[in-house]
Assembly symmetry: C2
Amino acid sequence: MSNDVVVSADALVDYCAALFETCGMPRDDATLASLQLVTADLRGVESHGVVRVPIYVERLRCGVVAARPAMQVVRETAGSAVFDGGNAMGQIAGQRAMELAVDKARVHGDPVFVSVRNSNHFGAAAWFAEIAVRADMIGLAFTIGGINHMVPWGGAEAMLGNNPFAVAFPMRDAPPVVLDMACSVAARGKIIVAAKEGRPIPADWAVDTDGQPTTDAVKALEGFVAPVGGPKGYALTLTIGLLSTMLSGAYFGSEVTHMYDDLEHPQNIGHLFGVLPIAAFESLVVYFERMRKAASDIRGVRRAPGVDRIHLPGEREALLAEQRRRDGLPVGHGTWSELVDVGRQLGIAAPRPRP
Amino acid sequence: MSNDVVVSADALVDYCAALFETCGMPRDDATLASLQLVTADLRGVESHGVVRVPIYVERLRCGVVAARPAMQVVRETAGSAVFDGGNAMGQIAGQRAMELAVDKARVHGDPVFVSVRNSNHFGAAAWFAEIAVRADMIGLAFTIGGINHMVPWGGAEAMLGNNPFAVAFPMRDAPPVVLDMACSVAARGKIIVAAKEGRPIPADWAVDTDGQPTTDAVKALEGFVAPVGGPKGYALTLTIGLLSTMLSGAYFGSEVTHMYDDLEHPQNIGHLFGVLPIAAFESLVVYFERMRKAASDIRGVRRAPGVDRIHLPGEREALLAEQRRRDGLPVGHGTWSELVDVGRQLGIAAPRPRP
């Protein structure tokens, strides 16, 4: 971590919010988007944190993402809605859409699903699922990725995103249990690092341009990210992609543009959010007791040699966030330089790193 | 396939139904359960087909599964229900619960989720998701497995099932797109075969009793099935397990008994079924056109060398079922012998295999 800059999370939120505001976003939206990104960094999910600020700023500045979107509900029943994000940042459209799902479920007491179109890359899926948790609901969040990185099984042409989804379960007196995963064996970022260092990669991480497994990181980058579990990961990322787009009219497959390379066309990214209000199925007291016992069963198993503690999904992230809020947030040197540069271009001074 | 017996699927349905009826099941239920199992075999999902008939019959005969269950809805809102399976076969409880979800969605036009408790092993998840498809709804089916085979990540004690789930999307004039997957790298059946043949297994298939990866198939069988993608598969199987049980009060974790070894205690298996009626979100015409285009994009990609055709999830299974309905269903010799034996014990003659 010696190459990392350590900053205060609050100061970083303010800084990134100022950058977004300078791009024309209303202050509240700018702060919300910034908070989501810094929260991902706090949780150790750096791939979906402030590392994305430069591209988000670039897309806002050239107008391919709307700083002041006209968002609207275009279709609605008691338990469903179709939400048009008005080409907002995914962080903003996603927040409104998930809040809509929660509000509707509060009113009717039933499961609600909201599909979203005309949105953009929304960052970490866990954020949205956790919005439901705070209303005593199980939250589900699906999105299609902002780049086609993956091939259909047997294919040699990218037609699928590394699509992520999150499911969050409320706990009483403990962090929620949160699954948040995408469908590749390894993050593409790890392949980039291996290529830079001239190291080989495991044979199951990627396929080359012919769709054949490769341990050559450079060929892997020219090729495609491999799905987790082979055909399982293919079917899973396809399913998440369809859930995220077919109920809203967002882009899928050949319609998907490249978030980094195409600064001309709005991406029309789609999401699907779902909430299952616990109280529809069971008294909260009973549910929380079931979850406590389930968590206790998992935590209490005999451990493999060298393992200190069994974590529930999302727990490691919650603990890390707590520590980083206290001790400061490490930001990689490269990411930090880019962030400072963006501020320099926009006339915003970066926060002073901790010594 | 030279060791396989080839039978008519219809005759096999009748035979297995007769076995179940002899165990006290009403004829309609017996036929339905049998049809579900043979359909799994037709689709090439032999692990969830008639290979399970002997244990199902044994459990019915000793009364640990109810042949004539008292099923009931114990809680209900417009968009949700809690369904008590009355210790029915999972095939029967699952069918009624998914039909309830579809019926409720037809009435209200909204997403519906039905949680199930006091059920049993339900076979292949795809069957249930496809019930929704026939009503122009996206279907979701989750269940907890009937045996704890998997460890929490870092653990060395089984506390999780290899929990499966299915998601099915309606298509017009084509088989539905159906994801149906469990959370292990490889089916446990493959490890059993390797152990019998004295072959090593890939290092990512299983961990030994200390939770360490092993290529020794015998040690693997004493140990645990490895989750797909390591911690991802752990989080996924946990999530599916929680979805299947926390909203109904079905057993989870240390409460889960062993389907094959414990013939005394009802398993109280849980499921969760969900339906998203397309028409709530979009006109069916538009949805089907989106799906057609999406499928066409996937099928049309450049193929890896040696690949003849790109399949959508569930397509291979649908094609295989069509061929097997026509040409006869191959049943492994060992499975066939067991099936014939069960019939002999119950006084039911097995169908004559095709020459």
